[in-house]
Structures are given as C-alpha cells and as structure tokens.
C-alpha cells in the first residue's frame, strides 16, 4: 500500500511517500504565505518525481502548523505524534526526540513502540529556534548553510547572555565592534540556542538514544552544542527534515 504524509511548517512544506514500510521518496519546498497551496504543490511535485498519480495514494495524513489547511488529507495529526512515529520508524531504538524547526522547538519522549510519553514545546519565543539562528547568521553575514560548521573553528565561545532574539542581536553587534573573533561569536550563538533547548529537554527528562529532527538538525554546530549540553550523543538521520512527513505517511498506512 502506498501512503503519503505532508508536513506544513512555518518556513518549509515537506512531503513523504512510503510503500509497504519503505520510503519511496521525500521532498522539501518553501511554504510561502499560502499553506494550502504549499501542501498541494509539494505533494504534486513528489508524485511527479516518483511517477505516481494521486489515486495511487491510498491514504494521506497532514501535520505541522498548516495541517488543517490541507483539505485533501484524510486526517490531520499534530507534529508531536508524527515526529514520534517518524523517529521510531527510522530508528526504533530512539527514546527522545529534539525537533528544532523554523518557529518552534519541541522535545518528545517516546516509548519502545513510538508512543508519546511526554512532550514540551517552545512556541512563545524565537530563542531556541531556527529563526534565531537565521537572524544571527544574517547579522554576521554568514551563509546559513556554513553557519554551524564555523563553530568548529572557535577557540573560546563568546558568552551571549540575552535570550531574546532582538537583544541577542544587539549584543552580537557590540561583540563584533569589540573585535571578538567571528567564529567565537558563532559558537556562542549556538551555545545559547542549545541552552534554551536543553533546559526544555531536561524538564521532560532526557532518555537515550536521542535523535534530532527538523531543519536545524542539518546544522552541525547546533547538534554538537546540544550534545555538549546534554552530555550524550545525538543521532541525525538523513531524513531529519522530513521526519514529521514520514511519520504522517506511516500513520496514514495504519488507518
């Protein structure tokens, strides 16, 4: 049976198609301002890429903040449930998921069957999210894709004390003017994001193995900073960004 999952996030829309427990393909696109169109677009593009037609898809589950605007979905489920199922599908030993997306971050504790035991979300503030990193990368005129890797060249990470994005940005500007090494500032930024997320993770109670998902999982600096803070290894699958969509597709197949 072929099923699909669509995950509409604040910045990107993701689609995944699975067949009989195997991933057939995934795709990421920008959400833009119309979440409804984005769902259609990414779904159609993936169908085309895989040479499939809409009727081939037996069930479709939508997730993410835009989940309710995907009007052709059979069902909508939250990212929490979908990430849990997605992570369990990819690595069944996973017990803890840290998902850091564009506008929020969340931590999810799951059991051996992929069922959610507890979760926490930071959705009130940009600190500890992809958006925070984006703003800081811009302030430092660094390409977002290289941003995290530059942490490795820091000797003493700068201390960024503000958790507010706006204040942190001005703190960084003053660090630049004092001549602080750019890599140190960048490492400091990643540490600050990691502190925010690790506090939330500890509140729920970290259990290993830990998997990181979401767009920020592609940022090696953020992953390492989190590993340091949580004092444990964090795995990142190649499907990190589309983990929620995969979970949705798996859930669709269970219906």
């Amino acid at each position: 049976m072929i099923t699909a999952g669509i995950d509409i996030g604040s910045i990107t829309a993701k689609a995944a198609i699975i067949e009989d427990g195997k991933i057939k393909g995934t795709l990421v696109d920008f959400t833009g301002y119309n979440a409804k169109d984005a769902g259609r677009r990414v779904f159609n593009a993936l169908l085309e890429k895989l040479g499939l037609n809409a009727p081939d898809i037996k069930a479709l589950v939508a997730t993410g903040y835009g989940r309710n605007s995907v009007d052709f979905a059979d069902k909508s489920l939250t990212e929490i449930t979908c990430h849990a199922v997605g992570a369990h599908f990819i690595a069944p030993e996973t017990r803890f998921i840290i998902d850091v997306g564009g506008q929020d971050s969340k931590v999810i504790k799951i059991d051996g069957s992929g069922k959610v035991i507890d979760f926490a979300m930071n959705d009130k503030c940009a600190a500890g999210t992809g958006r925070f990193l984006e703003v800081m990368a811009r302030a430092l005129e660094v390409d977002l894709d290289e941003f995290g890797a530059l942490c490795a060249h820091a000797n003493t990470p700068a201390n960024i004390s503000s958790i507010c994005t706006v204040f942190a940005e001005s703190e960084i500007i003053s660090l630049i003017s004092t001549g602080e090494k750019r890599e140190n500032i960048i490492a400091g930024i990643h540490d600050s994001v990691a502190s925010r997320i690790s506090a939330m993770a500890r509140r729920v109670g970290v259990e290993i193995p830990v998997m990181m998902t979401g767009g920020v999982a592609k940022n090696i600096g953020a992953v390492h900073a989190l590993e340091n803070k949580l004092e444990c290894e964090i795995t990142v699958s190649t499907y990190a960004q589309v983990n929620g969509a995969i979970g949705a597709a798996v859930l669709a197949s269970r219906r």
Binding site: Y65, L77, T78, E79, I80, T81, D104, K115, V116, I117, D118, F119, M121, D123, K124, R203
Partner: protein
C-alpha cells in the same frame, strides 16, 4: 437521538437565565447605591465579604469585573491603556484592566461604582496590596488590609491569633466607616447563609463526579459569580439550591455536558475568559470534558475549617488557608483528592502570565502528579484577560497533541 434533537439543546443549563438576572440586578443595585443611601466597598475575591453583607454594604469585586472585561474581549484595549499610564505589562491583567477602566468609566458596564472604602485581603496574592493602594489614592477612600500569612504546612497558633486580631479590627473599621454598630445576631445569620451557600456550591461541583458529568468546569466558571460576590445572602442560597436540583435532574436524565464524554480532565488556574467557549469546544471535539477545576472550588474548599457557631474566628483561619496561600505539599494533596474524586484522566494547567502565585509551582505539581498518580499534564501558556498572550494555533497544537497522546 430524535428526542435529544427535538428539545432545544438539553445540554444547556437552565439556571443560566436566573443567574444573569441576579447579576444584572446586583450591578444595577451597586451602580445606584449612592442614590439609595447605601455604601459600596470594593473587595478582593478572596476577602471576607460576610461582614460587609451583615453591615448592609454592597460589595463590589474588581476581579469579577476583570473577568467580565475578559469575557467581553475588552481586555486588550484596557490593558494597553494601563500600559500607556505607565503600568508594566507584567502586572496582573485584572489590575491593569480595572485601573484603566476606572479612569475612563469604560468596560462592559461603564465602569464600577465608586467605592466608599476598600477591603484588601492578601490571601490570593501580593499584587492586590499595591493595586488597592493605587485605588485608595485615586478615589481618596479608606483602605482596610487583612494580612493572611502563607500556610507552610500547619496553621500556627501565633498565625491564628494574628488573623483573628485583624478580623476584630476589620469589624471596628466597618463600624467606623459605616457609622453604626455591628449586630452580632445579623453576623451569625450571614455566616450561616454563607456556609450554606458554600455547601450547596460544593454539591453542584460534586455533581461532576458522576459519569458522564452533567456540568463542566467551563460552566462552573460562569455559575461561580454568585458565590464570589454575594455569599451570605438568602438569594445566593436559593440560587444554588435550584442549580443543585437541576444537576440532580440532569444526572437522573443522563444529560452529559459533553456528548460523548470519554476523557475526564481537571483544569488548574483561572479561566481564559475570552476563550472559554473555544476551549470547551476544542476539548469536546476530542470527547473530553473538563469535569472540575482548582479555581471554582476555592470558594468552598475551606468549608471544613469553618465552624458555624464561631463563624468570625474560624473564618479568619479558613480565609488564610485558600488554595493559593498554601504550600506545594498541601496543594498536591488537594489536587490528588480532586483527581480521585472526579476520576480524572489528565490535568490541564493554564500557566497564567498574570497570576504568578497561581502559576508558580505548576511544573513541580505536574511532575508530582505524573509520579504519584501516573496521569499526564498539558500546560497551556496564556493569560486570563490579555488576549495578546494567547496564540490559537500554538495552543491548538498542544491540545491536539495532548489528546492524541491520551487516546493512543
């Protein structure tokens, strides 16, 4: 099914109409007090109102008014006005909304009637002290402060003496501002009526222990108004008698507040006044009923401490021991009892940006509940009046995710 459809929504509580009537008359009475030669006192929600009733003073509750402001979605404008006046956005939104309202006679009822004097009891928070000082200066009226020590476990003899002494001073203060002697017989009568009303209110809340629950916390938020404002009057006793009978009838006829009640949840903290309907429908769409809450039971939760034959003195101790003036260990005891009584499957905690004393400790409480009883908690970050602290899509995701977890 056809029967259910025929009647005009049987789930609606009939007493609602009567409540609206009583509250309208009450506010008309308060607004025309001056013309009728009556005195008006503003009092905090946890303050001892019985002596006011006994002295024939009309009690007015800025917090109840704050709730109305919230429910009518007038909170943001008024809060912004207060912020323009220089009050911090971190100040309780009841305080902000009410302070702003007083200066422009705005809000849903064109402002509260001016007070002749103020009664402030800090059993609910420290904010009310400063808030009432501001009001006292603004209207230039006397202020009585009843200081109730925080209860860390045991109510000590010294603390008891301390609050009883203040109750005596309170009565003296009332005699002075009202220019007449207090009548002990009348005081006893009011005390008895208050206790009776509290008992009846508890009975109404207890009805939700029945499965399916005939009343939800969202209804209790509404029917609460009288026990807050007018306990100690015959009218209040009569009202809750009627409401209690209605609950019995609902149970007998198996009328559920949530149609397919499958999950029973407990609410903690003040309501999100401008979103009660949305929240109740959201939970109902998951077949979940908020069967009880720690907030509305605050007005009857200390009933066991009141001795009708020694009302004033026992009242002093009871008022000091309300839910948010006690230690976390005592709170968890209350919570556990409620979870058991109402057979709750989960806890929904409103982390209320305004009300710090109520919200502090919620993470600890949720952890204790998970560990000791094994039920999960959902924490919703919002504010009771200031809509700027409410994000629908974020809260929706949390509720959906929590319910998916509960159902799995």
């Amino acid at each position: 099914m056809t029967d259910e459809k025929k009647a005009s929504d049987p789930r609606k509580i009939k007493s609602v109409r009567r409540m609206k009537e009583i509250m309208t008359n009450y506010y008309i009475g308060a607004k025309t007090a001056r013309e009728n030669g009556k005195k008006v006192a503003w009092i905090t929600s946890g303050g001892p109102v019985e002596p006011l009733i006994a002295m024939d003073v009309i009690p007015v509750y800025p917090e109840n008014h704050g709730a109305m402001i919230g429910a009518t979605k007038m909170g943001v404008d008024l809060c912004e006005k207060a912020e323009e006046m220089g009050y911090s956005r971190d100040l309780c939104s009841y305080a902000r909304a009410d302070i702003a309202c007083a200066t422009i006679n705005g809000g849903p009822i064109g402002g509260l009637p001016e007070p002749d004097f103020l009664v402030c009891c800090n059993n609910i928070c420290g904010t009310v002290l400063k808030w009432y000082e501001v009001v006292a200066r603004y209207y230039n009226v006397p202020l009585f402060i009843l200081d109730t020590p925080f209860v860390h476990g045991k109510f000590t003899d010294a603390a008891k003496k301390y609050v009883i002494q203040q109750i005596n001073e309170y009565i003296e203060f009332l005699e002075n501002v009202c220019g007449k002697k207090a009548d002990p017989d009348r005081m006893d009568e009011v005390g008895r009526l208050s206790v009776e009303a509290q008992r009846l209110w508890q009975k109404v809340l207890d009805a939700a222990a029945h499965k399916p629950a005939p009343i939800s916390a969202f209804d209790a938020f509404f029917h609460l108004a009288l026990i807050v404002t007018l306990r100690g009057t015959q009218e209040t006793v009569d009202y809750y008698k009627g409401l209690s009978t209605e609950m019995e009838e609902r149970i007998a006829n198996n009328i559920a507040m949530v149609k397919n009640e499958k999950y029973r949840l407990l609410w903690d903290n003040l309501p999100v006044w401008y979103r009660t309907r949305w929240l109740s429908e959201k939970f109902a769409s998951h077949d979940a009923c908020l069967v009880a809450d720690t907030y509305t039971s605050a007005w009857s939760g200390v009933l066991h401490l009141i001795d009708e034959d020694n009302f004033l003195e026992s009242m002093a101790v009871a008022y000091s021991s309300v839910y948010i003036n006690i230690s976390l260990d005592m709170m968890i005891d209350t919570l556990k009892k409620m979870i058991k009584k109402y057979d709750a499957d989960g806890l929904v905690m409103h982390s209320n940006r305004s009300c710090k004393p109520y919200s502090l400790g919620q993470y600890d409480l949720s952890r204790m509940v998970a560990k000791q009883i094994g039920i999960p908690t959902l924490i919703i970050e919002a504010d009771m009046v200031d809509e700027r602290s409410f994000s629908e899509s974020q809260i929706e995701t949390r509720i959906d995710a929590f319910m998916e977890t509960l159902k799995a």
